[in-house]
Symmetry: C2
Subunit: 213 residues, 2 copies
DNA sequence: GCGCGAATTATTCGAGCGTATAATAAGCCT
DNA sequence: AGGCTTATTATACGCTCGAATAATTCGCGC
């Protein structure tokens, strides 16, 4: 008799809520624990509503994956554009990638959960590829601008090789630093990242890592 | 009436089969698809048998995680010990980590599936930590031996910093190379790895990457 | 202020989940 | 060769899953 009262939300905010709830559940209970019912409860709605906004649970998971990756790159790119020189932008980009909120156990859990699905479901593979290439391109752009600023000539091929190496290093430090967070002090990871990148690019010590030139 | 005939296997080989079947299922269907019944079918037994060898499905998953990590480090360490000089051992170790069978989409899927669970279940966190530290230590040992051989003095702290950086780089290249395998040619990744590591360690170009000294 | 479309709830369905237990067949020991 | 242990099968149980459908309530347009 007594039905629950409810609020009719706009499509955009409802979808957002559902995606956020999905990510909460995956982070807290794993992808197996992210059931339609759990997600709905977390979002404060009933299970049936999910299929009103997504044609299947799988489609909602894909939307959630896009959301995770978008916020990761967004955070790093936002940090970078605040730099005034190419050197500063590169520096900020690298530091942002090994600093909260990007280095966050929850984010890593989500990322890993989706990564483990890209060999199973082609839709996830496409989302991954899209994001990987866009990250690599952003990094390559920052790098080449930096080298121009430094008046150091570099072939596009060399620049790409550097981008691949720096990307790997940043990814690896992000992984290491997040998974073994208690092993590293506050800024230890960021310092290590800058020193490692400048070594990787064969720069002089301090050329990138020093606070200011 | 007609019960299935069966073979009584030794405990060791049965456990091995069950773990292998578990990994097959996770790789093929994801961790959600690795159900007791699927795993049993893959192993050619019936579901009930699993609980004769493992006190719960979760314990079997943990055993499977250990197995994955063990075979990864094993492959790299086995490659390393065949080198005759410290330089060669370091070189082989790095190359092995960015070369099949370590770089394998299936392995990466499995790794990611378990990584995504270490924030949820402490048992998985312990297994991760154990393997991470042992990998880091193996790398540190190889590095310090290499520096001794090169007659280059290095403080233990510096050596550890290098180990963390190289570890990150190798992990990152492993990730990148496996996830975007079609982007890289056969030995491109290994070459990039060696060149990047030698830059990271501030070695002369070719000091580590050249085929032989 | 009321009616109507649609967002949301409630309920149901069949399938599949992990686990527990009882029945059975395999194969070693003497 | 035959009995005994136990590895293995078979079956059942209680729950939860994703999805479909029916019933209801919200809130905008007039």
């Amino acid at each position: 008799m007594n039905r629950r009262t409810y609020h009719r939300a706009s499509e955009a905010e409802r979808r957002e809520d559902l995606i956020a709830a999905t990510l909460d559940c995956i982070a807290e209970f794993g992808i197996q624990g992210a059931t339609v019912r759990q997600i709905a409860m977390r979002a404060g709605v009933t299970g049936g509503l999910i299929r009103h906004y997504f044609s299947s649970k799988d489609q909602m998971l894909q939307a959630a994956y896009r959301k995770v990756m978008a916020s990761m790159t967004e955070a790093a790119v936002a940090a970078a554009i605040e730099g005034e020189t190419a050197r500063s932008r590169l520096r900020r980009f690298i530091v942002a990638n090994v600093t909260p909120p990007v280095t966050d156990p929850r984010t890593l859990s989500l990322w890993a959960a989706f990564i483990s699905h890209i060999q199973i479901d082609q839709s996830f593979a496409a989302i991954h590829r899209e994001n990987y290439l866009s990250f690599l391109e952003a990094l390559e752009t920052l790098l080449s601008a930096f080298f121009v600023e430094e008046k150091r000539a570099l072939s596009p091929a060399q620049c790409r090789t550097y981008a691949i190496g720096v990307n790997a290093l940043v990814d690896g430090l992000w992984l290491e630093g997040t998974l073994a967070a208690d092993t590293f002090a506050e800024h230890e990871l960021a310092e290590n990242a800058l020193i490692s990148v400048e070594a990787l690019l064969r720069l002089q010590p301090g050329e990138l890592s020093a606070e200011q030139r």
